[in-house]
Symmetry: C2
Subunit: 680 residues, 2 copies
């Protein structure tokens, strides 16, 4: 404990002020602290015993908490609910999903796709407050995930009865991965092919009742099964659903965009793109979640590294060295710390941009003119940026969790130290709400298309304005680490590398066209270059946003934030050093300087490592790992937790299994010796 106390003696920055800045203000910090205390004191919210619960116990406990969160969600201000959920996502990711399926996906579908009258109807049925209705979200099928347009479930209009008939025609059309279906939901927002008079109109959304709200019996024609054990997030009961000619009123199709009239006439919306805005929200949330989960992982790894000692330099009587004092350990953790700050700031800017976009979207309504076109342009830009950020931030966070876990040595493999479950819980972020690889390709496609438009004289959107600067950017003359790694120089370097990667993707795309490929196939042909361009673009975006945030930060924080921003830019550049040499921005000697700078920056940040984790402001309850405790009392508390949760009992299968093993005698039958065996 003395080991960690000495870490806090002389931080180079005011810790509390950093917390306010990261949280977005003193008020927010205090609100989060109130919420953390409220969670910590409620016995329902115990999380340290999660590793010892069975699947059934895990799910039941999660459900008991749903009511608490639902009551708070409707009685407390929305901002508080937002902060509560973002903490819950770090503390108890699977439970967050169980709640999020109702409020975010099911109710979100109503909000985004219902007409005002439909929304009012479902509100009156209790769909917001979970009074009478619990919802789930039926998009994915066994055979279709990313390709939503290819879903097989059908909703066929029956003009005779004014109903839709919802049906799963094949095994692969079985709804799959539906969170809340196995145990929770009474209703489902089902994505199905709208069929009217034999004609298909594409995938629309229909509210289908799954269970009787009084008895929880399945409704006629509805078949549901449990998907059982998953890699993580076992708090949420994913299930499969098959529909066999299930009839729902016509008015249960959500008709904000496409409408089906009583006559069967289908009215399609003027601007289908406007419906895609809702997809962005989940991605923005996942960028925030990446930052938050990374903060927890780094808090655990960094504090442990300030307490754990291993090997000494031989001085008699001297204690062994702290892990954190080894240059290699600094190299393992501190660049990840810089990445975490980069994600935090990107999440902040992305959230603000998303909020702006949503108010533009609601202002423009159903209009079509130039104004709508402008909003659609902004939508595309936000869509592409959020796609790239979602993909690379979730990958970055997943890597941070595992690197932090590995940095704990063997103790990282225990379920009681927190990071193995964090990894399993987090991993799905790389797949759902848009598979990362597909999102990167979408981002890359946008980059190629925008670069081609710019070549034709269109103005560059703001997130790509660096392309114009990139050409003017000059490489530094000298090769000292300070020249090479000035923040402005790193920004120019990254801009130039991203511009180069986009040029290469355009080149490959055009080479595909020149071969006579269709536009889509030319995009496929250029997919490796597109993915690469999306990565370079996203890193460049992260560094530019980091820099912008540093410029706005309080003066007392600017030195350390600048150091972190430079480490982020330089370390990422070393990881992709080939690209910098290829783009001709840095010389080989300058790349050597980048590497030297990373080592120096790690050493300079070393004394602030623990204070930086303090600034993240997570209580021991949220950290939920004896190795990441604020007071550094790791061994005692780890031992206590393990022994409390695993009290020693006699080996249950000693008599039945072990004794017979130990007491067995050889029972091998080699047969009689044959009389003639010596005769040959």
């Amino acid at each position: 404990m003395a080991s960690i106390a000495e870490e806090r003696k002389a931080p180079s920055f005011p810790i509390r002020e950093m917390t306010y800045w990261l949280d977005g203000g003193k008020d927010v910090t205090e609100l989060k602290e109130r919420v953390m205390l409220e969670l910590e004191r409620d016995p329902l919210w115990r999380v340290s015993d999660h590793p010892n619960l069975t699947l059934a116990q895990t799910r039941e406990r999660a459900m008991t908490k749903v009511r608490r969160i639902a009551d708070l969600a409707i009685s407390r201000p929305i901002e508080e609910t937002g902060h509560r959920m973002s903490l819950v996502s770090v503390v108890d990711a699977g439970f967050w999903t169980r709640v999020g399926v109702h409020f975010g996906l099911f109710f979100g579908a109503l909000q985004g796709q219902a007409t005002p009258a439909q929304l009012a109807y479902w509100m009156s049925r209790g769909a917001l407050s979970m009074q009478g209705i619990t919802g789930c979200f039926g998009m994915t099928e066994l055979g279709h995930g990313s390709n939503v347009a290819g879903l097989e479930t059908t909703a066929t209009f029956d003009p005779k009865t004014d109903e839709f008939v919802v049906h799963s025609p094949t095994l692969t059309s079985t709804k799959w991965w539906i969170g809340g279906a196995a145990h929770t939901a009474t209703h489902c927002a089902v994505y199905a092919q709208l069929v009217v008079d034999g004609k298909r109109y594409g995938t629309k959304t229909f509210v289908v009742q799954l269970r009787d709200t009084k008895t929880f019996e399945l409704m006629p024609g509805v078949n549901i099964g449990d998907l059982g054990k998953k890699m993580g997030r076992d708090q949420i009961d994913n299930g499969w659903i098959r529909f066999t000619h299930v009839r729902i009123p016509r008015s249960h199709m959500l008709m904000k965009h496409t409408k089906v009239l009583r006559s069967g006439k289908v009215i399609e919306p003027p601007l289908a793109q406007l419906a895609y805005g809702a997809l962005i929200q989940g991605r923005v949330l996942m960028v925030s979640d990446s930052a938050n989960v990374a903060k927890r992982a780094l808090t655990i790894a960094t504090r442990y590294a300030a307490v754990r000692r291993q090997f000494s330099d031989g001085t008699p009587g001297a204690p062994e060295n702290k892990l954190l004092d080894y240059p290699i350990h600094q190299h393992r953790l501190l660049p990840l710390m810089a990445q975490t700050f980069a994600m935090t700031f990107a999440a902040r800017e992305m959230t603000a941009g998303y909020t702006r976009l949503m108010s533009q979207l609601s202002a423009v309504g159903d209009a079509k003119g130039a104004e709508a076109q402008e909003v659609i342009k902004n939508l595309k830009e936000t869509h592409a940026t959020s796609a790239g950020l979602k993909a690379f931030c979730t990958w970055m966070c997943l890597n941070i969790i595992d690197q932090c876990r590995q940095s704990l040595g063997g103790h990282g493999y225990s379920s009681y130290t927190g990071l193995s479950q964090a990894y399993s819980d987090f991993a799905v972020h790389c797949t759902w709400e848009g598979d990362n690889t597909i999102l990167t390709l979408q981002c890359g496609r946008y980059l190629v298309a925008t670069a081609l438009e710019a070549r034709n004289g269109q103005p560059l959107p703001s997130n790509l304005s660096y392309l114009a600067d990139a050409q003017k950017a000059a490489a530094p003359a000298g090769s000292s680490p300070d020249e090479v790694c000035a923040l402005a120089t790193l920004k120019a370097a990254w801009s130039s590398v991203a511009a180069n990667a986009i040029r290469t993707a355009v080149r490959d795309f055009e080479a595909g066209l020149a071969k006579g490929l269709s536009k889509d196939n030319a995009y496929e042909f250029s997919s490796a270059a597109r993915l690469h361009a999306a990565r370079m673009h996203t890193y460049t975006y992260l560094l530019h946003r980091f820099d912008a945030q540093v410029a706005q930060s309080p003066g007392a924080l600017r030195p350390i934030l600048t150091r972190l921003a430079r480490l982020f830019g330089a370390h990422s550049a070393v990881q992709h050093s080939g690209e910098f040499l290829l783009a001709g921005f840095y010389s080989p000697a300058q790349v050597d300087a980048l590497k030297a700078f990373v080592s120096t920056a790690c050493a300079e940040l070393r004394p602030d490592a623990v204070p930086l984790t303090d600034a993240f402001g997570y209580s021991d309850y949220v950290i939920n790992s004896p190795l990441g405790r604020y007071d550094g009392n790791v061994y005692e508390k780890y031992f206590e937790l393990v022994t409390e949760l695993n009290p020693q009992k006699p080996v249950p299968y000693f008599d039945s299994v072990i004794r017979p093993l130990l007491e067995r005698t050889n029972d091998r039958d080699d047969g009689p010796e044959l009389e003639f065996d010596g005769e040959e």
Copy 2:
């Protein structure tokens, strides 16, 4: 199923012959097939239901299998046992560990460290056959893992009674992570500080009885607890052990190397290094295991990608495209396939080298002269190479598992598709038997030391002979992919990059010395460069061994193996392209050619992707994933497995939890309206 059948119509190589070559001969393949059939038919060995077992069930089932494997291990030829265990490691990694702790670690300690009389004694007590004795391995402590010399447990000689007193003096000296301690072991090979007459002689090994072999009661002074849930490998019951003045006969210290005579006189061995040979075996096994586990992961991912279809190019009535036909999906999987072959061949050569070393070691015995020095040199070389290979192959395999899992999309998150558990089980390979980061630094230290010796005129050891060639190697003149990616050119390129990285590590080490640092601290100072040198060296080693195996391979296999070797070399080079540009081996245009070659090589290997998984020769039982089935019947079998293991039942907590949620009414108390509230 037709989708996968068409994949097998025209492989470019004879599949069966490839299997023989990978396994090491037709005999070996047939033996492995017999073992796979035997496992598959024995109901004890069912593994597809593992996700649904509780921790207690998992452990009990594993223990019931121990007897079967123990009987087979003592009655069947050792070669067969080796192959059985290597299959078991893929099918049931945690069980492999439970068995391995006894046979590999406990009995291995006896074999390696006991005198002949001691070994005979323990054999007669049933320590090999698990008749009367089950063993565990007590090295790691709560506070010490990597630094074995720093272990705190003491074994103090009591000359009055001719006993050792084994004692855990502190909380951090508690033995921790001891596999088999919680439920299985009667005896433990305990690593403790030998103390005689107040003097410490370093860490030695002592056999301590933990439990009564008849009743399984703990022995006096022995305290054991259960470490409970882990990230993976729950089949093995890791525990903690505390010793409170436990007395054992002097003859229970293993005295092959250091001896304690009746008088208390301590005789230390002439060549302490010779004791380190045993450490290498585990590392060699983990290189093999990396290759084998990667084969399983790739089989699942590749076969699924040949069946899963998503998105179409719009041709009416045409089926959607196979994932495997997307260039980006080929980029995701086929370089991993090449890595898997590289690891397979490295494992083969490493195993042969280890076997040679062991026979040298046993031939040289206790001799001291030039011969012994030669063996010690070989030991150091093998130690360093195996350390680097263990680290980078386990990291490589862990990455392969997760990339393969992510390539399954959402289905990769199900516990029934096999790869999430594979990841959790495998992850510990990066930590135990030498934490990867520490091993890479050891390898790097060897490289620096050897390079310095070579500068002083010492001959280069065989694993570093490429350093001499590297200086002569000429970069290709042209920049066509074929020139740049000829196997000989890639080898020269990698040699030159590794040589450069070693030079840089030497430079940093010497810069540390020049600053006045001690030798050890200069090594710490150069740790980032050392780690990098170890990585470059190990990739170079992998490519050189791959090339050597290609040269020895049957003619019919050589074209495809050459293609894989070139893809391995080129893809790894693209991943580290900065190093090739820094080393001045490739020009920017040639690096572009490398990237183009990777795309072409992936496209050329695409038609052989499924045949390559067939050549790995794992039966559906070993693959243990409905998505990786040989016949491609993925959806039906996945659905069957999920529904069989999770039969639908009424929601157990409907009445207690869900009904009150749905039926609750608002219970919020806003208080009376106060008379004076409108008055201000």
